[in-house]
Symmetry: C2
Subunit: 328 residues, 2 copies
């Protein structure tokens, strides 16, 4: 492994927009070594004044919906508009299959060659809480390095959408037009988190289907209560191949940005997100520390199945474990 | 305060179905005194073999939808069918206004006079995690005392529906027919949790509206993916005044019960719920213990606003607090 940079070297490199230093800083954030974690935490704290100026966009959709191709095309549009773009991914499941670095870079060929785009695959990690925390810190590092649009990509796995929703300003759901069952396969609750829906692959024979799906989705969204921002999520159709509709999606996000800046919702939302992150970090660190204890691990291993079967009450075991942990 | 009963006295009283002992046991479970909590935990553990045989039904709906009247009428129907019924409530918000004991008993006059019905208002508590844990233990005590249908009522506040969903077999959503905006006012995500929807107050002039609303809801439910149980949530219309439709709701729940018993989903679901409860209890006890520390409280009080404003990174503060807590 390369020699660790100093805090100062990390800081000045990032603030200058040095991509190599940025990459190494994200690796630092992702490290599970306690020494790295402390340095990372100090680094994130130090660059904090340079963060927050980007538009943070979450992108989700089931596998096969064309997220990478969309990000490739949409990302290139943003680069043409003079934006600096960082693409992060949060996908705890991808760790199982590995190889996501190569995967992401080949999936987004054009983007990965552009010096104004920075692509970083999903960090390794065995818990969503950990992976999400790392992605969020990576996002802050990218902001400090001057990226003004951050795309955070996620797959519909477990609670990862909620984590992404909690770190972005705008949450975009990609869907496909299908034969009447457009909404099948979308995880419960996802549609209600979206600030905008894009019906992707609206090209060729699909275009007619996509237009139909658009009204289906619009009707469905109508059934949901207004979100706190006062924004009604629009439904757009787009093709990442013909680039049809991509401009409109950027307009959608830009007007959301303008409206929420004006109303103060953007800052209010971010402030609430920070408090949620404090809570989540605390809970994560506490439970992590707890589960690291060999005594706790042994007890859990032997008693868990009794809780599962209903033989031991969850609260009983929880109390026993607490006593064990705090007995000294 | 009355003398505390012994563990044995609690146990035998509950298993005999003694309502006074049951009441006192629930009070014990609700107590925040450490001594009570330990006895309660032991008690719940000891009666565990006698639990689990009931149908656990969650009932939710916005204020004004007529939950109490519905529970009064529906509950009386169940009593007529020879069931023993316990009604519990989980509503963290009700603590602010107090007086829920008197409230609940006057709201459900007929039920509260029947010896086969046991009504218990929402326990006091300042966190949902705590309130939910207490309600769940109360549910187990009621089951051990022979109640074979448990209704857990909740209001759409914060995350309380998720807590209730995680402790019941069947989750029923009550709604009202309105003028075109039937679904307004239902909290995001609630509809997707429901195993059945009842359009309440379907009497008089409302009947026509209710029938219309029924098809609106049916269409909306169609948009959601199939739940893991394979069950498609039906929509019923009912009146708690004329008793119209109540029988059908019981049929709906009974066939859900039969199907999920047969498929094994009921036990699978309960087993998963138990593991969730173990996790939640652990997290609750850990964070509770953490936040009880005067040092942590002082630090949080002075530093929280810096996180809110974005001056201090959430992870930085979380780490500092962890160091403080575990420094000895």
């Amino acid at each position: 492994m390369k020699k660790r940079l100093s805090l100062e070297a990390f800081k000045s490199g990032i603030l200058k927009g040095d991509r190599v230093v940025l990459s190494r800083a994200i690796t630092l954030v992702e490290s599970s070594l306690e020494q790295d974690a402390r340095l990372a935490s100090q680094l994130v704290q130090d660059i904090l004044p340079a963060t927050g100026k980007s538009i943070r966009i979450g992108i989700t959709g089931v596998p096969g919906v064309g997220k990478s191709t969309f990000i490739e095309s949409f990302g290139n549009l943003l680069l043409e508009k003079g934006k600096k773009l960082a693409v992060l991914a949060i996908d705890p499941s991808s760790q199982k299959s590995k190889g996501s670095i190569l995967g992401d870079k080949t999936r987004m060929k054009k983007l990965s060659l552009n010096k104004n785009a920075f692509i970083r695959p999903s960090p390794a990690g065995d818990t969503l809480g950990g992976v999400a925390a790392k992605t969020r810190e990576a996002m802050l590092l990218c902001e400090a390095a001057g990226y003004d649009v951050i795309l955070v990509e996620t797959v519909g796995v477990g609670q990862s959408e909620t984590s992404v929703k909690n770190m972005v300003d705008f949450f975009l759901l990609l869907v496909l037009a299908g034969a009447g069952d457009e909404l099948q396969g979308i995880k419960k609750g996802i549609m209600e988190m979206a600030d905008g829906i894009v019906i992707n692959k609206a090209d060729g024979d699909n275009l007619v289907l996509a237009k139909k799906a658009k009204s289906t989705y619009q009707n469905a969204l109508h059934l949901f209560p207004l979100s706190e921002s006062g924004w009604t999520p629009p439904v757009s159709i787009a093709s990442s191949i013909t680039n049809f509709g991509l401009d409109k999606i950027w307009d959608m996000i830009s007007s959301y940005e303008a409206i929420t800046l004006e109303s103060g919702f953007k800052e209010k939302n971010r402030s609430e997100q920070r408090m949620k992150w404090l809570e989540e970090n605390l809970q994560f660190l506490l439970i992590h520390r707890f589960l690291e204890s060999p005594q706790i691990q042994a007890k859990l291993a032997s008693e868990k199945v009794k809780v599962q079967s209903g033989e031991v009450s969850p609260l009983s075991l929880a109390r026993e474990l607490m006593d064990l942990f705090f007995k000294d």
